[in-house]
Symmetry: C2
Subunit: 85 residues, 2 copies
């Protein structure tokens, strides 16, 4: 699998930060906190949005966001949030 | 909406604890940590599994788990994990 790079991820999370917070603490309670979440889980969730396997909830928002992310982007973004406190 | 009761939820999480940990810290990194997650998000996720809107990832496991949960069960379980540190 692709290995995520949290430093590279930090440069790719501007759009995520709008809802999830710059360090993964979301102010709005329907958006999940991502800080310290398992990177593998975050990758699995992003890929499920990208593939359209996840509907419901905020998928109308998440699917287009994930649509143009590469596997490396996803690994880097997951690494970034998983290393946040 | 249904108001969740964390104390009632504590009695309903035995099956969740097997993968997510008794207080929402999962040892296996494909299972998300739930401790301190927003209750509204947890409810939304459980309902998406229950309705089958969430596929992919561990949905094969989660959908049957969520299938027989009532809205009150879901609110209580969400309240329980959201109040864990």
């Amino acid at each position: 699998a692709t290995t995520g790079d949290a430093k590279a991820g930090a440069k790719k999370v501007a759009m995520c930060a709008a809802c999830h917070g710059a360090t993964g603490h979301s102010a709005i309670n329907i958006y999940p906190n991502l800080a310290g979440q398992h990177a593998n889980y975050l990758e699995s969730a992003l890929k499920a949005y990208r593939s359209g396997e996840r509907a419901g909830g905020m998928s109308a928002m998440m699917t287009p966001q994930a649509a143009n992310l590469s596997d490396q982007d996803i690994a880097d973004i997951a690494a970034y949030f998983s290393t946040q406190k």
